[in-house]
Amino acid sequence: MIFEGIVRAGIYNPYFLPAPSAVLKAIVLLAKDGQVRRAFLDVALWSGEAVVASAVVGTLVGCLLGVWPLGYRAYLPVLSTAVSIPKIVFFPIIVLLFGIGANAKVAYGALSAVFYVTLNVAGSARNVDPAFLRAVRAFGGTRVDALRRVVLPSALPGITVGIWVAIKHAVNGVLIAELYVSINGIGADINRFTQQLQADRVYALALTLTVMAVTAAWLWGRVDRKFDAWRRLGDA
């Protein structure tokens, strides 16, 4: 409200910071555009693919590091560094590998997300109770059995948290890829609207994307609670 007032009073130039009402109007306008709707669906789809890819890779690598102490000590610093490196420096390599189409966007989204999943899963898989592993061994289980029946369920909290974080980073990654290499799609639209000084539309797109990512993460949180029902038993 204050913000709206400031803009209307002419204190701030609406070309750079449009009033919330203008952003809402732009959302309604863009929502009517079939191409824009299609572009949002694409982003959702690519982000979804990036999340799945990062979840699968991150879970496998994380579980392995969790039960392999030497590997954990050797690769944890690498992973921690990888998390904090701006992934954008790898973007040219991604483009070289995957071209400038949808694949590059998914790959960059997955790259942005995968280290968060791996770190969370590894940390959580490390807390596996060795007694459970011994029990599986005593009953004739193989290493794969142990991974599937003990490590994976033990690491579940890390997997779900990792995916929750991954959703946000994957959407982010897909968008950044779009900003750089797209000739159409949301990223290209944002670029174009920015150049045309249509700030209300830029904010409209950004806001919608934020809502999308937050909603996806929230929905995932609900799924997570279902998986984990046993943890809340008997605590009362």
Partner: protein, 264 residues
Amino acid sequence: MTPRPYVSVKGISKTYTSVRGEFVEALSPVDLEVYPGEFVCLIGPSGCGKSTLLSIIGGLTKADSGAVNISGSLVTGPMPNEVAFVFQDYTLLPWRTVERNVSLGLELKRVAKKEREPTVARCVALVGLTSHAKAFPRELSGGMQQRVAVARALAVDPAVLLMDEPFGALDEQTRMVLGNDLSSIVAKTDKTTLFVTHSLSEAVYLADRLVVMSASPGRIKEIIVVDEERPRTPSFRTSEKFREVHERLFNSLRDEIFAVGRDA
């Protein structure tokens, strides 16, 4: 003619390296024979290697020397078709219900789901937990959790049960009830059982033979036969025979316990 032993332990020894780099002789060469259907209790002071011995018999720990044979075959690793464990710390998977915990061993033996179900139901019933089949371990008392662990071991239908202080974390009264139940279950199912315990009266109540062990180095000091039919009834606990065996066991253990106790 004496029957062939089902489990035979010959010249098993094991040395650990402690954190400070000292060698600790957990087991100096140990020989033991257990006959089919027999219930043998291993009892001794802390650090006498009784849990290590059990772990070696079950193929979970490698011995430095000697050999273990079960039903004529040399033990080189876990033998899930012959042997099942019950651990002190239950080791139930907390994300699995009672029945899914009981089915774990069968799953690992790749038994089809259809065939698992009746076995699981029967074993859950055998330990008296049918009404808790869908409960998670967290919702159960310690005694009930250990019943689940017993059912999980019975479900794979092993010839040999290895029980490592299974009732160690339970209170005296729960132990007595579980001991009673175990005595009748084992008699019904005709298992060969090796049972590690710290409790003298539990050992006397359950065992056909008591293997008394001493510490540093771990070895067998004496074997006491409990000449009483199984399954036993609570009245055995107050009988003259029980008192005599208990006293003999206590005398055999006294020096060992107090020798270790002074170091502790």
